[in-house]
Assembly symmetry: C2
Homo-oligomer: 479 residues x 2
């Protein structure tokens, strides 16, 4: 069972009744006729499972379609359009911004059955349908000596379609780039049911679709670039009395020339949550932990880079432990991968931020956010891909005990800290519903107008995943 | 003096009189009042210098503005809009697709005075105004141990603004990515004179602007990612009796795991043009030449990679020469950098293609294009960044002796070869005017419609660089 979740947007979604009434029944019946009963879920008990992602509760869909081909997606889009019903795409719904949670009564298109995957070793490409699980791409590429680097924490469950929708990152992305950096071509179905095949040319419509959370079209196929894995990796853990020191170590190591393949940070509350959950022997008293991998073709260079990071950690007041062997390295990384389930044990809900700030501003930003958390009386933890300046301050709360308004207010203050330091709202999770209210702070009104123009050009009726990314404005509402 | 050039589009541009008449005078006078006389060029002799890029002759502009700030650009856009006159942006005009050549009577905005450049070593960023010369970025970054990898052949004269407009590549781009891969943020002025500041978030409007050739907005500032240069490089040259063999060597070397930092190809006509020009001692009898750099952190790995390429060249029937020392390597690369001026000595004009095909299709594509050239009776040479599958078949011609129609027909056939083999029209030069007629073959009508929708959303009046990228269609014309 998923914990009960609550919408956190100040502009509440339009909540329909659990049963969608007559229009819903007619649409579901029409879709069942067009696609066959195997591909349409219309009972309440089935539909209820498609109203949330991993962090956000949404509106129960009118019906759920499980397409098996691009032609099926076209049929759904046309039927929904004819019925005047919005469409929300969905992969594994492991996202952390509410991107896949319907904010209005809609047809949910769940891509879990579109799982065709082909590896072309000579071209160093994978061709994947949106329902392919992220990890499967690297698993299929490995026999050819190839790898697909983007590694969101949920890569054992998340799908390529979801990763594309949110332009997902992961620890490897500091050195190797995010999902969008690996996309060579895309197929998508537009709001009219038209099918587009795109390469990365002018105008780069593929780049526009990536990270657009299904608001501009539904991605039905992707050609992904594969690369060769680095043969050598070295891992270290460093812990610090105080969070700002960890940020200082990162900032100075990178300024000195280190490009670790992973550079992750967890604060004390995070470390303790993981210890409670997994009993790995992490230092509970430390104010902050860093986990660092360096990798490359040359062992000596990889070790020199690890040493450079080690020196920066020691200079910032940290203590360092090197991982001896793959098993110890894997245990350290298990800690980082377990942050989400570990936090879920503390409070039933969380507001997960995804800010990115300049590395040189990290010490100040981390300290300011810590102070905001302490002053709020709410439970705040910080972790993230600190090498990128990508931090995930998380507010953990129980909606029965803590007010959604107080949570939203703290989240807003954190977003403003990032913006004030020249940062942005989202590094890898997308804007979704959770941060769209903060877009007004992050994006100037002229540019927000241009984003609305682009949205309107590709989805004039606002039928694709309403209520995401763009804050409310003229002409974009559904209700 | 530039050689006389001729427009090659079948849909001829609207040629106005050399003097723009009354409207032009009023606009120039208004701009002179607004910006001061130092920033506006209005005499015929001055304006004539702004009607071409490095390959395409265009229409003499109504007037030329040399802005010194974003505010100046806003003033020009507003004045031109009020006068109903289109706007064409321009950097060094070293482009090879006609992107900067005005196709209608327009105000040309030449960014050559906007040359502010700042390096932030801690952030590994360069912030550049559009008029900064490409090479200057790496020169300014070098004292900090940093480099800006994109290296178009014209990087000693081309500007960052022009590189962004065409999403320019270069030899380094096979391993390190093209201009757009290094853009962290952009400022641009839209068709209304609004100023936008963009990071690479949803929706990735920055990515849409990059490569849009000034048709969606005028880029006025860019924050560029810098990286650390590889300490070791090894260079080799290989020559082959026949062009297809060179393509086979490339295809098999990369399939075997080599990722050279540069992998360039020249056919016999190219080699002989360079020999005539520079007398470097290149093998005139060879059907094809490959120039290869491998680079990295570890000399042994770099040399192993060079050896792997060497074995692939020998297996494909080639002969190999290793460069001993930096001077010899530099001399070999001077050959590649001199292709454009060397070809300019053979015929006064050229039609320069920029196709990208899957590497596995290279042998067949190179042979098919050679055969098309031989059958046409026109002078055709091939060279390019073959590691990417990015080829530059060039048709060299003299408009007094050879018909523009025959040239266009051959260019079209070459484009169709690329498309038939799953390739695209442009790897690094942009579509411009020269390839826009072929967009109908390369892009399906549904997607072409979406591209038009995006263009219309950001430039409803079609005022920004008319006649580029998108082939003629409803509502996008100027005349």
């Amino acid at each position: 069972m998923m914990p009960e979740k609550q919408a956190l947007t100040t502009t509440s979604p339009v909540r329909g009744p659990v049963s969608g009434g007559h229009a819903s029944n007619a649409l579901a019946a029409g879709l069942t006729r067009a696609l066959g009963p195997r591909k349409v879920l219309s009972s309440v008990s089935e539909r209820l499972n498609y109203r949330y992602d991993a962090i956000q509760f949404g509106v129960t869909p009118l019906c759920v379609v499980l397409p098996e081909s691009t032609a099926d997606v076209v049929a759904v889009v046309r039927a929904a359009r004819a019925a005047g019903v919005p469409i929300v795409g969905r992969g594994a719904a492991s996202g952390l911004s509410g991107g896949a949670a319907p904010m209005v009564e809609a047809v949910v298109v769940s891509f879990t059955r579109m799982t065709r995957l082909e590896i072309d070793a000579a071209r160093r490409e994978a061709r994947a349908q949106p329902g392919v699980i992220t990890l499967k791409v690297s698993e299929a590429a490995r026999p050819f000596g190839l790898v697909y680097p983007p590694d969101p924490a949920s890569f054992r469950t998340s799908t390529i379609g979801g990763n594309l929708g949110e332009n997902a990152g992961g620890p490897m992305c500091f050195k190797y780039g995010v999902t969008g950096d690996y996309v060579k071509a895309l197929e998508f179905v537009d709001a009219d049911g038209g099918v587009h095949t795109l390469t990365r040319d002018a105008y780069d419509l593929a780049g526009l679709l990536i990270g657009s959370e299904g608001t501009l079209g539904l991605i039905t196929d992707a050609t992904l670039r594969l690369s060769t894995p680095a043969p050598y990796t070295r891992t270290l853990m460093a812990h610090f009395p105080e969070v700002g020191q960890a940020a200082e170590a990162v900032s100075s190591a990178i300024a000195a020339g280190a490009v670790p393949s992973k550079l992750e940070f967890m604060d004390q509350a995070c470390t303790n949550a993981i210890e409670d959950y997994l009993h790995l022997g992490l230092p509970r008293d430390a104010g902050a932990l860093l986990l660092v991998d360096t990798d490359g073709d040359d062992l000596e260079t990889v070790e020199e880079e690890r040493d450079l990071v080690e020196r920066a950690c020691l200079a910032a007041g940290g203590q360092v432990r090197r991982a001896h062997g793959d098993a110890e390295a894997a245990a350290l990384w298990q800690a980082r991968r377990s942050v989400s389930p570990a936090l879920g044990r503390i409070r039933p809900q969380r507001m997960n931020e995804d800010i990115v700030v300049p590395r040189s501003a990290l010490p100040e930003v981390v300290r300011e956010i810590r102070a905001l958390g302490d002053a709020s009386g709410l439970t705040l933890v910080q972790f993230g891909h600190i090498g990128d300046g990508n931090l995930h301050p998380n507010i953990l709360f129980d909606p029965r005990r803590e007010s959604a308004e107080a949570v939203h207010e703290l989240a807003h203050k954190i977003a403003l800290v990032a913006i004030r330091h020249g940062g942005v709202l989202s590094g890898e999770h997308g804007i979704g519903t959770m941060k769209r209210d903060f877009m007004r702070d992050a994006v100037d009104p002229v540019t927000l107008g241009a984003l609305r123009d682009v949205k309107r050009a590709l989805d004039p009726a606002g039928a694709l995943n309403p209520g995401k990314i763009l804050p409310d404005g003229e002409g974009m509402e559904h209700g």
